[in-house]
Symmetry: D2
Subunit: 139 residues, 4 copies
């Protein structure tokens, strides 16, 4: 693990630039040598099933991708293109904000891997996963 | 490949029940022994980056998950819980509707695998992936 | 799909250079615009469980990786480093040769994706999966 | 994390029953509430490329699968069928024994997820990954 090269305010600014990230309403809670912690604020549109009111797996996948990407962004100073993601679903996520904890698995000169763990309001693990990101230097 | 057990109208009804699927604005275009074809109607909130206007990878992941799930739903008569998904990103998706073609890889008595391929308006492949779904009979 | 840039003999020569590929005893059966077909000859050491005599999942993963890699090798003229693989297990593979059919999903200038499907002697699908490969030009 | 229900000797006995696991020459080094640690003893057949002498990615995938499976086996008392695995390659693994550290991500009544991290003799991370395993009670 290395220290982040940009601070929380800069991370927050980068993450909030995009319309879909704004819609997911991300707040960067923490960023240090251990990784990043990001909250997504629940919204009614996240529901997959009107009776059971579980959160849609696509929302969880999006949060895993963003959190893993920003764990790398904290180290490189910029978000990076996703090559692929893989998400495991552990437990139905009921309505409520979600907190993602993400850290770098390996930073490489061409591609890098990061991992994110997603918790509900009670602190239960609802999903986790990994992404591979394209981290060659922009020309 | 087997013939679907429910028709397009029923698939459309099932897919449109959930708020997030409504927000992704899915139309079931086709469902036959080869699989399903589903369109998601573009919306401004999908953008990840205000300058380049690429579609957010989380949106593409959500569409892959839903399309693969409904390829199974067409065979089993109901959508099923996602165990895990894996999504490969092939090309930046510019603003515009997306069409997913999905088919079953294997239906099992406990868990099943399906695959989805996602195309932009020009027919270019922008993402593809697979999911594993929990298909044990509900008790 | 594009036509292969190297023939079956060259593919066979490349695949047979490595000790582990020799141990898996690969024969390239086919290579054309649709992809490659490769047989791995069964050996007693592949068994995971002495009573049931199923083939070890690690063997199936290795064959998926090699077949997907060589689908790309047929297009680029050389095997390429694996970034990541994902393998789905569909059915226990009983003792016997296995045939992998693999094709390119997308060739990119930096990284590429290919898919492989693995069949037993009766033609039943036992495993399938995908890999992402590093395909930037060697300097 | 929970305490293992079987000891190291029993784990070693279970892992050593299968011919391919014997060929990979596994030694269980540790098993406690944190997970398991397993060594695979290098052999010449693992090489993918006779000049560079890197270890074949299929070998690393097999070790990730076995280590993640046995992290679950330590909790459930028996190894379990693999549903799918995903492996990220971080660094070429040169000839030498490999040590895998694996832990459970989540144990579920139907399927479970575990993660493994694979290190070379110098302690460098060479690969890591996850598997989903079928953990419904045998009837």
């Amino acid at each position: 693990m290395s220290e982040p090269v940009i601070g929380i305010e800069k991370l927050q600014e980068l993450i909030s630039r995009g319309p879909f990230n704004q819609w997911l309403n991300f707040t960067v809670l923490k960023s240090d040598g251990e990784g990043v912690e990001i909250r997504a604020a629940w919204r009614e549109e996240w529901v997959v099933n009107p009776e059971r009111r579980y959160t849609h797996g696509g929302i969880l996948a999006a949060i895993v991708d963003v959190a893993a990407d920003y764990a790398i962004a904290a180290q490189l100073g910029r978000p990076v293109p996703t090559i692929d993601i893989r998400v495991d679903y552990h437990k139905a996520a009921l309505p409520g904000d979600l907190v993602a904890k993400a850290h770098v698995v390996r930073i490489g000169s061409q591609y890098s891997t990061a991992e994110a763990w997603l918790y509900d309001r009670e602190g239960a693990l609802v999903a986790s996963g990994r992404g591979t990101y394209f981290t060659a230097s922009p020309k």
